[in-house]
Symmetry: C2
Subunit: 373 residues, 2 copies
């Protein structure tokens, strides 16, 4: 289901392909986040046109609203949201564990109260697979406990035991069920910031056997260097012939670092959240379109960009829309940022294919941390 | 600039054409409202694809944000918002007079405080023309005082004197200026709910001479029958060879009544505001998509509709989006309602052309006031 097409000559970066029932994902690639079945402000058609290959949705949110039954009756999430390309779904582990103190972990599963209405729910590893099968997910994730930073070693160790036990139950349950499509199941490597626990987690998950492996529990407040250390270490001990997924990471410099270390897929709210806050990613750096500086700037958000927003609208117009709280601005900037990410990932794939990854990385990062004008 | 193409055999309805520098408006037609330079949630491209021929913007709002200078520097409103079809602009009379007690009427003009930041402004009839010229409006309106309902006869009479004086000054100023495009200027018939004052207003405006005539000050709280009486009376005394514009009216049954009495163009926030509130206009009546009834309804909003929303999404999906406050739902329903209005107006034009207006009206209104399922 995962095929390596080209390995970088200088680093562990690789170009590959994840094959799903809804088409292929050329990797490395980045999934915008359709938390509850929609990429905020955007239609499925716009995503497709922007070059998005796959999206991530969240089992926790979809369980609460609209609920498993409705999506099942719709014929799955692809039909429900009219998105015919691959969908990967997160198990909700991260969301549920963010609910503390509204949740209680038991060996059987986790009990929690909805962030929406306070209603009580119980997630077991088995139910989460059942739920993702009902969604028709192309790539589903096992229920895990996401340990926050900093976490004591004792707690992390104990938590990992639970996560591995749940992974085992998830796989067993998954293997016993018919799937709506030819789906895939990924294990999630936890272990906090302890390399030996990460190693143990990876080994135990490999023993259970999954179609691919995610690295979870990072980008949760730890220093950037520590995150890189964990990504690089963990990626290095995962099998080469399986897809590697770095969860919740989406800052451009982090993507480059992770790709360099063999990561294949990413998801993050960075492009869409920034767009809704009035910030655009451009070929010259970050642009705070809301800034008064652009009130009379009739150039496009990124003169080097070919997206719908940049082909049709100016900074001055979008700034005006932001200043009157007009949703169209949020749409245009979200779309631009998603296009920017899709193109960046395409360029990364091309750079690896041409043996020029490090060169492209260096060139790109020159512009990344600067403020565009 | 206005040409009658076909008169209805049974009523005063007519099919015509308003020619502008940005193309023709086939009438009768309806303008969605781009108050401050955007139809809320929608792009200019979507409007065009939905069949919108022209839009209305508001001088009052654009004066406050982004201001005359910025739009002038952008090369006019068409360029600013990337809308290449006709734009008509309201003078802001209605908005300013809604600001009471934050405004003070003088013979010279009207002093008011911004609804946004309380800053002080002074609108004269001349400035309002200057402003609309800067916007590059295709059809601009004179500054008027919009009298609310109910208004005493004395007040209405006195107010009308001012409105006529301002209309005269507006025309004089307009005639003295170069225009960015071959623009047009419309007078606005006021006179409250007094037919003799409406008559006097129409006669005095005709004497001044305008490219077309608007009927203002209606749909401001008066009973529907009284509104119809005023529209029918006023339309009847306006010259046949000039376009007639009923301002701020957009409820479907009112449109039919007014078209029947010779009105050519309309504007109203009804389709967009309803869309943002979760209500869709359909061939079977109004549909409150937010209703729990549709949680598992996988049909389109209007199975007889060909719009982007109806071709791609279901009631259940849109209802889900509404329940999570997702903007995409507001976009889809706004677009659907605008498409519905554009198609309705096209059908009205076709019905008049075929001599079947009354038949089409009767058939349409059967469905209008019912709740769709």
């Amino acid at each position: 289901m995962f095929e390596i097409i080209k390995k970088d000559k200088d680093t562990k970066a690789r170009v590959g392909k994840i094959k799903t029932a809804h088409g292929e994902i050329n990797t490395p690639d980045f999934a915008p986040v359709a938390t509850a079945g929609a990429i905020k402000t955007l239609s499925s058609q716009e995503l497709k046109e922007a070059g998005v290959q796959f999206i991530l949705s969240n089992a926790y949110h979809l369980h609460l609203k609209p609920g498993k039954d409705i999506i099942e009756k719709a014929g799955g999430l692809h039909k429900f949201m009219n998105w015919q390309a691959p969908i990967i779904t997160d198990s909700g582990g991260f969301q549920v564990f963010s609910l503390a103190p509204l949740r209680k972990i038991k060996a059987e599963g986790v009990e929690f109260q909805s962030h929406i209405d306070g209603s009580r729910h119980f997630f077991t590893p088995e139910y989460i697979i059942e739920l993702q099968l009902a969604l028709g997910s192309d790539v589903m994730m096992v229920l895990d406990e996401c340990v926050h930073y900093p976490a004591a070693r004792d707690y992390t160790e104990q938590s990992l035991k639970l996560t591995i036990d749940w992974a085992s139950r998830s796989k067993k349950f998954y293997a016993s069920r018919d799937t709506l499509y030819a789906s895939q199941i990924f294990g999630i490597v936890q272990g906090g910031t302890y390399t030996d626990l990460r190693k143990q987690a990876a080994e135990q998950l490999l023993e259970i056997g999954f179609d691919g492996y995610a690295i979870g529990g990072l980008s949760v407040g730890e220093p950037r260097d520590l995150m890189y250390e964990m990504v690089n270490f963990t990626s290095g001990i995962l099998p080469e012939n399986k897809a590697r997924y770095l969860m919740g990471v989406g800052v451009v410099q982090d993507i480059f670092e992770a790709v360099e270390n063999g990561i294949d897929i990413f998801d993050c709210v960075v492009p869409t959240r920034n767009g809704r806050n009035g910030t655009a990613f451009t070929s010259k750096g970050k642009l705070t379109v809301r800034n008064a500086l652009y009130a009379q700037d009739f150039s496009s958000v990124d003169p080097e960009c070919d997206c719908f927003c940049c082909k049709n609208y100016t900074r001055a117009y979008i700034r005006h829309l932001l200043s009157i709280d007009e949703m169209l601005a949020l749409r245009l900037l979200s779309l631009h940022n998603i296009y920017f990410y899709a193109k960046l990932m395409k360029n990364i794939r091309e750079a690896i294919s041409k043996g020029k990854f490090l060169e492209f990385k260096k060139e790109s990062l020159k512009h990344y941390n600067v403020i565009a004008k």
